[in-house]
């Protein structure tokens, strides 16, 4: 098949360097990802081994079941997390004393890129909640007690976690959250509501951000580990979402929920700061997770438009289509470079808030652009639920919203550029 395709290329293209022609026909995305990564020399042999191993796990234990789990509206978190935990993938950057590997953040990014090979957005997102949202502060600031109770079993995959920050009254506006954790003797009494909680129905514990004292909104909150079987916790019905359908999402009510005060992570009043600290990692992780789906979209669209005939020739022969795909490929490489640069600086100890916010902003925007353009090229088929591109269109739309909305990212970047207007001073 390859040989006969070669003979049909018009004469003027024979002068194209051989390598360009070779890469066009390699059918699977993963080898191409590897080439792009190796070329950048950002990853070492161990990173690539990690990705190979994780890709194998995804191919054998996850991808064969994704379609079914998407239809059922839930993936079995405990089963999947246990498999990942046993292979060491849930504690890549976590302390060795608690079962982690204590590796630097580049390994987290490598893992994020490999996770993007799952055929849906929901499962990588759920895994990222466990590794990059609910546990970083715990690992860094938690007492031995909470680390033993909650961190170690989360790293081994025995417990599923969720993050309780967003509320019905505010997601982006974290400082204005209303849930309270009132100190009563040796306990906290928690009252309030949380919204958009991923892994809600399957989680064993929640990393909860709540107001624990009066005072300035940035200084009065704490992170508390809350076991999800504590009396007083009510899960409202499953939220019916347009995408990420195999992820269980819920609104959660807390009515006089009593947890031991020793379940607090770190210092009282530092919750907001801890949460902000882990945002850089969360945003870089979000960008890393989008790279593979974007490449898959482009590759699958190339395959489809190469086979699909219209007006006597493959769709791909239309300049609008192959030029557009080249534009999109360029954008993906730009995002990858930004991510690698930010990660390298972060690992070197720099504050990468501005770059990480740019990574998040760009990936949110790019996934919409690429999934939309690719879906268009798929025509009627793109509109069905039978193809991957429409699932990615739905799933990836969340990236611009969750984990820090585009608008919040823009505000952060403006702040670093010195162009964010001052809030009008309140008259006393």
């Amino acid at each position: 098949m390859a040989a006969s395709t070669l003979s049909k290329i018009p004469k003027r293209l024979i002068t194209v360097p051989w390598r360009a022609l070779t890469t066009r026909n390699i059918s699977t995305t993963y080898p191409l990802q590897q080439q792009a990564q190796e070329a950048s020399e950002f990853y070492k042999q161990e990173h690539l081994e990690l990705q190979n191993s994780l890709k194998k796990l995804i191919d054998t234990e996850i991808n064969p079941h994704v379609d079914r789990w998407e239809a059922e509206g839930q993936f079995p978190a405990h089963e999947v997390f246990k498999k990942l935990g046993q292979a060491g993938f849930l504690g890549v950057t976590k302390p060795e004393e608690y079962g982690g590997l204590g590796l630097d953040y580049t390994y987290s990014v490598a893992m994020g890129e490999a996770l993007g090979n799952v055929n849906c957005g929901a499962i990588p997102m759920a895994i990222a909640v466990q590794t990059d949202m609910a546990t970083p502060a715990l690992a860094r600031f938690g007492s031995d007690y909470v680390k033993e109770q909650f961190l170690a079993p989360s790293i081994s995959g025995d417990l599923v976690s969720c993050l309780g920050v967003s509320e019905p009254s505010g997601g982006s506006d974290v400082a204005s959250l209303k849930t309270t954790a009132r100190r009563e003797g040796d306990d906290f009494i928690i009252n309030g509501q949380k919204m958009w909680i991923t892994n809600a129905f399957q989680a064993d514990w929640m990393c909860l951000l709540a107001n624990t004292s009066q005072g300035a909104p940035h200084k009065n909150k704490s992170l508390i580990c809350v076991p999800m079987d504590t009396p007083g916790i009510h899960l409202n019905k499953r939220i019916d979402k347009m995408g990420m359908r195999s992820s269980d999402t819920a609104q959660i009510f807390f009515e006089d929920v009593r947890v031991p005060a020793k379940n607090i992570i770190g210092q009282e009043g530092m919750g907001f700061t801890y949460q902000m600290l882990q945002f850089q990692e969360e945003r870089l992780a979000a960008a890393a997770l989008t790279l593979a789906p974007l490449e898959i979209c482009i590759r699958e669209t190339i395959k489809y438009t190469r086979d699909r005939m219209a007006f006597g020739q493959p769709l791909l022969n239309n300049q609008y289509i192959h030029f557009r795909l080249a534009e999109l490929e360029t954008e993906v490489e730009c995002l990858r470079s930004l991510l690698y640069r930010a990660t390298e600086l972060y690992v070197g100890g720099e504050d990468v808030t501005k770059l990480a916010s740019m990574c998040k902003l760009k990936s949110g925007r790019l996934v919409r652009e690429i999934s939309d353009s690719c879906l268009q090229f798929w025509g009627g088929m793109g509109f069905t639920n039978e193809v991957l591109v429409s699932r990615f269109y739905r799933d990836l739309r969340l990236v611009s919203i969750g984990g820090g909305a585009d608008e919040v990212m823009l505000s952060i970047i403006c702040k670093y550029m010195g162009i964010l207007p001052q809030a009008p001073k309140k008259k006393k």
């Binding site: 390859a2 006969s4 070779t22 080898p31 080439q35 161990e46 081994e49 990690l50 191993s53 890549v92």
Partner: protein, 254 residues
């Protein structure tokens, strides 16, 4: 009796890659193409590591012949649980012409040098599909062979091996030392866990050349031409048996 096990692993083009014939029609494109460990060799390594876990084997040594990148394949074997590796360096250009007989000679010499009790290899490599290395190595060593193994059991000084053959399954007993070739259903290889991948960095890989083992790798075979298989032609639908017979007659088939 704790066995010293050698496992032969080969670096081949990844099974998922679409193979392209080179323009000179003397081979396939390998530049910039993803390579991995031959799937049957993964099964061989997995079996050796399981023998070690059952305390039947005391050491697992992964061996590979190839260019510098063959070390990556050995590292994968180490990450799966092999104790150390031996890399027999064969430059890329010579690798194209390396034949099973050369590899068999190399493996035979290594097994003797190391004092191995058991050699496990994949039944065939997915690039040349020759299915000859295990058999020839056994012959050179004058050892018994158990090929296409789908199950291996250790009894006193012997192995009971179930072989997958055309007619079904065959059970044979072979005395140790022996050569075994791994078939698809022998086991399901583990994915290297992250802790083991990191530990593999510290394991040793010994480097040597075929000349160090007094093996001559002059090719005996010459590739004349490499072609794609013929393109599958479209079929046609017929309405009934009469239509089928008519079409077959028209095509001169009957």
């Amino acid at each position: 009796m704790s066995l010293k096990v050698l496992v032969g692993v080969k670096r081949v083009i990844d099974y998922a890659v679409k193979i392209r014939v080179r323009p000179d029609k003397l081979g396939v494109v390998t530049d910039g193409v993803k390579h991995s460990m031959n799937p049957f060799d993964e099964i061989a390594i997995e079996e050796a590591v399981r023998l070690k876990e059952k305390k039947i084997a005391k050491e697992v040594i992964a061996v590979s012949c190839g260019p510098a990148q063959a070390q990556e394949t050995i590292r994968t074997a180490l990450a799966m649980g092999a104790d150390r590796g031996i890399h027999v360096e064969v430059p890329a250009k010579e690798m194209e012409k390396l034949e099973p007989l050369h590899v068999s000679k190399i493996l035979a010499k290594l097994v003797e040098k190391e004092g191995g009790d058991l050699l496990i290899v994949g039944k065939q490599a997915i690039d040349d599909d020759t299915n000859a290395t295990a058999q020839m190595t056994a012959s050179l060593l004058n050892w018994p062979q158990a090929t296409f193994a789908s199950e291996i059991k250790k009894t006193d000084g012997e192995l009971e091996v179930t072989r997958e053959i055309d007619g079904g399954l065959e059970s044979i007993k072979v005395k140790l030392p022996a050569v075994v070739s791994a078939d698809l259903r022998l086991n399901e290889p583990r994915y290297a866990t992250l802790p083991n991948i990191m530990k593999a960095k510290k394991k040793k890989i010994q480097k040597m050349k075929p000349g160090d083992l007094s093996v001559d790798v002059t090719p005996h075979l010459e590739v004349v031409e490499v072609l794609d298989p013929p393109v599958r032609e479209a079929g046609i639908k017929v309405d009934d048996v009469e239509g089928l017979v008519t079409k077959l007659k028209e095509a001169g088939r009957i």
